[in-house]
């Protein structure tokens, strides 16, 4: 009886599942072949796009379809218009080479656009020389994985973003390689999303840009050689872990720029050779711990408008300035960091220095007020001033100190 039941269930499953599997259709290059095939296809069909060049644009996918490219078929917009437009739920687009969108100041031209649709799966595509690479608008539960999104926006400042998300939630942006856009990844009004394992480099403005996007996580990404690093602005509950920020160099460049951020976490990141590794303004309750700040111009710039933040268990090595601030009030806590400039002693041998470390040097206070004074940095006079200040502090904020500086660096 039991076996019969099981057999029945199996048969039933086949009966019900079979019609939803859909047909498999091969599409070969011809005039408007893609648009025609997409129009003719039924819901749940699979389209196998054969190799070749398809010169089509405004390709609409308005039903649940699986579109798979065989050996990278090329969809070329000839710098005229936008390309793939997804408006239905549960569409899969995989293995295509999408290239050369148009440029326009009023419409955002995208290589692959998902609009008012959920559960899109955009995987393993090459998106080349587009204004916007992958554009998500009013979308949710989408997977954007393993795409190569490259453009050449070195001189072109009217460019778009690699992955652009606006009014979305529950996105998963995983393992993409993004270069040469305005912002590598741009989030505006996006919540509960994950950005993981992406490489974002050589973008004109930011590697990653958050605006008004709450409760998002980004981890294990690498941001290098971007115009100005990563900006996280006007957001709450952002978790940033295990990222690498490398060589974000320039006058207004920050590895991370935090502006009006609350209740966030910056942990176990690596900052190497950035002009300013971490810039914080009007932010509250940020936990900065177990990070490595190595060879930066400024490791941390924290304005007096920040409060309730904790900086602990970090390593500061080879930075020109460890910490600077623009006021005398300090409502944040520094504790148990390793500072390579600390020259105190540890008589009780508990691994913690017996005298506090003041990470704000006199000259950093001066350059904060008069930026052009930087020209005299590393002069003999500057060294004397710094030494005098150490003996008799007068200008530097005495509240900003690490009372338990570590003698040995943390093993991070």
């Amino acid at each position: 009886m039991k076996g019969l039941n099981r057999g029945l269930i199996l048969i039933m499953m086949f009966l019900f599942v079979q019609p939803t599997l859909g047909a498999t259709i091969k599409v070969s290059p011809a005039i408007n072949a893609l648009s025609k095939a997409l129009k003719a296809a039924n819901k749940n069909d699979t389209l196998l796009i054969q190799p070749g060049i398809y010169k089509e644009h405004d390709i609409l996918i308005d039903k649940k379809l699986t579109v798979i490219g065989v050996q990278w078929p090329i969809i070329d917009g000839e710098n005229k218009s936008q390309l793939i437009f997804i408006t239905a739920d549960s569409v899969t687009v995989q293995g295509l080479q999408v290239q050369n969108t148009g440029r326009s100041s009023m419409t955002d031209m995208a290589g692959i656009r998902v609009q008012n649709a959920n559960f899109a799966n955009v995987q393993g595509n090459k998106v080349l020389n587009t204004t916007y690479g992958i554009y998500l608008q009013n979308a949710a539960y989408c997977l954007i994985k393993g795409n190569l999104i490259h453009a050449n926006a070195v001189d072109e400042l009217n460019s778009g973003n690699g992955v652009h998300a606006w009014k979305c939630h529950d996105l998963f942006i995983d393992n993409n390689d993004i270069a040469g856009h305005r912002d590598g990844i741009y989030f505006e009004f996006v919540t509960q999303s994950h950005i993981r394992g992406n490489k974002s480099k050589r973008n004109v403005r930011y590697g990653l840009h958050f605006m008004f996007s709450h409760n998002d996580t980004y981890s294990k990404n690498e941001f290098s050689d971007n115009g100005s690093g990563v900006a996280v602005m006007y957001s709450k509950g952002v978790v940033m872990t295990d990222n690498i920020f490398r060589h974000n160099w320039g006058d207004a460049a920050y590895a991370i720029l935090l502006k009006e951020i609350a209740n966030s976490h910056i942990e176990h990141n690596l900052f190497v050779k950035n002009t300013v590794a971490l810039y914080m303004e009007s932010s509250t309750n940020i936990k900065v711990e177990k990070n490595r700040f190595i060879d930066n111009g400024w490791a941390i710039r924290v304005t007096a408008s920040c409060d309730k933040s904790t900086f602990q268990l970090n390593n500061f090595i080879g930075n020109s300035f460890d910490v600077t601030t623009n006021g005398t009030v300090m409502l944040n806590v520094f504790r148990q960091n390793y500072w390579d400039k600390y020259d105190g002693y540890d008589l009780d041998k508990n691994g913690i220095g017996d005298v506090p470390y003041y990470p704000v040097s006199l000259y950093s206070v001066i350059t904060e007020r008069i930026p052009t004074a930087m020209i005299l940095y590393r002069s003999f006079l500057t060294n004397i001033m710094d030494q005098v200040e150490k003996v008799m502090p007068s200008v530097t904020p005495d509240q900003l100190k690490d009372t338990e500086p570590r003698m040995k660096k943390w093993n991070l």
Partner: protein, 142 residues
């Protein structure tokens, strides 16, 4: 004695003229916004203040400039305010008091100020028709 006086007058006038307050070009992709700290890349929405001492502040959005003047209690009549020409961003910046401004959510400015400036009403009218934008002016924007 008179010669010395004349010389000093000439020197002083030279000093003053060399410090004339004027618009400083924005280095796109390098300069940061004085208010929001973002790098300025979008030419269409850029703006600039030159204050009474000749110090220059650059902005990536007209709304950033507005908030900056309010926060720092700047007197609009004493400072110079410039906005980018939305229709022709490569051309010279416009004086905020003579520019014709429009508000529309289709102006995707970096900080969501949604404000664009135009040189003439004709140019603005064209965009107004296309986008349904509403007129705005410097005093009334927030």
């Amino acid at each position: 004695m008179k010669q010395v006086f004349l010389l000093s007058v000439a020197f002083v006038t030279l000093m003053i003229s060399s410090c004339a307050r004027k618009f400083e070009p924005i280095d796109y992709g390098k300069d940061g916004c004085a208010h929001c700290k973002m790098t300025i890349v979008e030419k269409q929405f850029a703006a600039e203040i030159v204050n009474e001492k000749g110090r220059v502040f650059k902005f990536d959005d007209i709304s950033c400039m507005k908030i900056f003047t309010a926060e720092n209690h700047l007197d609009d009549s004493k400072i110079l305010l410039f906005v980018a020409n939305y229709a022709n961003p490569e051309q010279a910046f416009l004086d905020v008091n003579t520019a014709y401004m429009l508000f529309s959510e289709s102006f995707k400015s970096p900080m969501n100020g949604y404000i664009a400036a135009f040189k003439s009403t004709d140019e603005a009218a064209e965009f107004q028709k296309k986008t349904g934008a509403v007129p705005a002016d410097w005093k009334s924007i927030k």
